[in-house]
């Protein structure tokens, strides 16, 4: 990927993408999975995924299936890195600090 800038601009759509990954941080999600969870259009979703991957928050790899036996093409799966998990948790924790008990 291109630049390695860990500072990602936090838009509302980016937060929704991160929230879908934080539900189960070890889970690998494809772009279609993320779309089903947070209903972000493809024109917005894929630039966000690539931006977070470029920043080191995500890593991606091809799905390890045999397309001929599975009957469908392999998907690109994204997963939170330890850095991404820590930074995303910090972002959401900064919101939680403002909550009344």
């Amino acid at each position: 990927m291109g630049k390695k800038d860990a500072n990602v601009r936090m838009s509302l759509q980016t937060l929704r993408v991160l929230e879908s990954f934080l539900e189960n941080p070890t889970e690998q999600l494809s772009g279609a999975d993320v779309h089903q969870r947070c209903h972000i259009a493809s024109g917005t979703l894929y630039p966000i995924l690539l931006r977070l991957e470029s920043a080191g928050w995500f890593v991606s790899q091809w799905e390890s299936i045999d397309p001929s036996s599975a009957g469908r093409p392999r998907r690109r799966l994204y997963r939170l890195t330890s850095t991404g998990l820590r930074r995303a948790s910090e972002v959401f924790a900064s919101f939680n600090r403002g909550v009344l008990a």
Binding site: G2, G31, G43, Y46, R72, P73, R76, V99
Partner: protein, 289 residues
């Protein structure tokens, strides 16, 4: 050109204009994700979105190569702003308008054809109806055999005589004796002391169920849910929203909190005895200043 070919062509076209390092990957990724879309409109929207995503991705990757070059980078960045990196602004606008027309025409065709199909009734078919039976006079009813019935009433003779009993004579006048006090009649029914239920000890904290996005958006409010609780403070049915807070996220958070509190409710009481009951529960989501 079929709808499937159109979407594949759009994705191929979009990926071809992506940065070289990403073109093959994006095309394969998008074609794989396209297979998860079932409806034609959804697939078309996805493909058009990929075209837009290519422009954004190309725009974001362009500066890194431009900055690494020499002073001509400023000119390149300026032209990137105007031309979205790889196609001219005029071409991209034309392509966008064309895509919107395709989407609209396809949407109208699919929606209208479905409407007409459901509105047109099935073709009429001739069908022989069963011939009705000719009018027939019903058979006459049998005449009842009425015989004269003689009812004999026995003649009962009554000869009643009344002899006054000297021990139980009836006198009139004022009575000096004190009558025994009659027991008081209950004038008012028994009042049942009722105490409404509510959150009890160990009830979950509201902050734990404050949706993260609502915090980010600064959403606050009170969501009123209806809970049905048995005598042990456990939910007997799924809570429902009585009055929303104006935010679906907060209402959902309130329902999750109400469910999580099962077993920690304070049951309503009647005469001090816990009973099952249903009551509204207001849950306030409020941010710190």
């Amino acid at each position: 050109m079929s709808q499937r070919n159109v979407t594949h062509w759009l994705i191929h076209h979009a990926a071809r204009h992506a940065p070289d390092s990403l073109a093959e990957r994006l095309e394969e990724e998008w074609l794989a994700d396209l297979e998860t879309r079932t409806s034609g409109v959804s697939r078309l929207r996805f493909a058009v979105g990929c075209c837009w995503a290519t422009q954004v991705i190309a725009y974001e990757h362009q500066p890194s190569t431009a900055v690494a070059s020499n002073a001509a980078a400023h000119t390149l960045i300026a032209s990137t702003d105007q031309n979205f990196g790889f196609i001219s602004l005029r071409s991209s606008t034309f392509f966008l308008v064309l895509s919107l027309h395709v989407v609209l025409i396809y949407g109208f065709m699919t929606a209208l054809s479905h409407t007409h199909k459901s509105a047109v009734p099935d073709p009429l078919q001739n069908r022989d109806l069963p011939r009705s039976q000719p009018d027939r006079v019903p058979p006459p009813l049998p005449t009842p055999n009425l015989n004269h019935v003689i009812i004999e009433v026995p003649n009962i003779e009554t000869n009643l005589t009344y002899e006054p009993d000297p021990d139980h004579s009836v006198t009139t006048g004022p009575v000096d004796e004190q009558l025994p006090p009659t027991p008081p009649t209950p004038s008012t029914p028994h009042v049942v002391k009722q105490m409404a239920g509510g959150p009890g000890a160990g009830f979950p904290d509201t902050a734990d169920f404050y949706p993260s996005l609502s915090i980010h958006l600064g959403e606050q409010g009170v969501s009123t849910v209806r809970v049905c609780v048995d005598a042990k403070g456990r939910l007997t049915s799924d809570p429902t929203t009585l009055k929303g807070s104006g935010s679906a996220r907060l209402d959902e958070g309130a329902l999750k909190l109400a469910r999580a509190g099962s077993g920690h409710y304070r049951a309503a009481t009647e005469d001090g005895q816990p009973v099952s009951s249903c009551y509204p529960l207001g849950i306030r989501f409020q941010l710190k200043n």
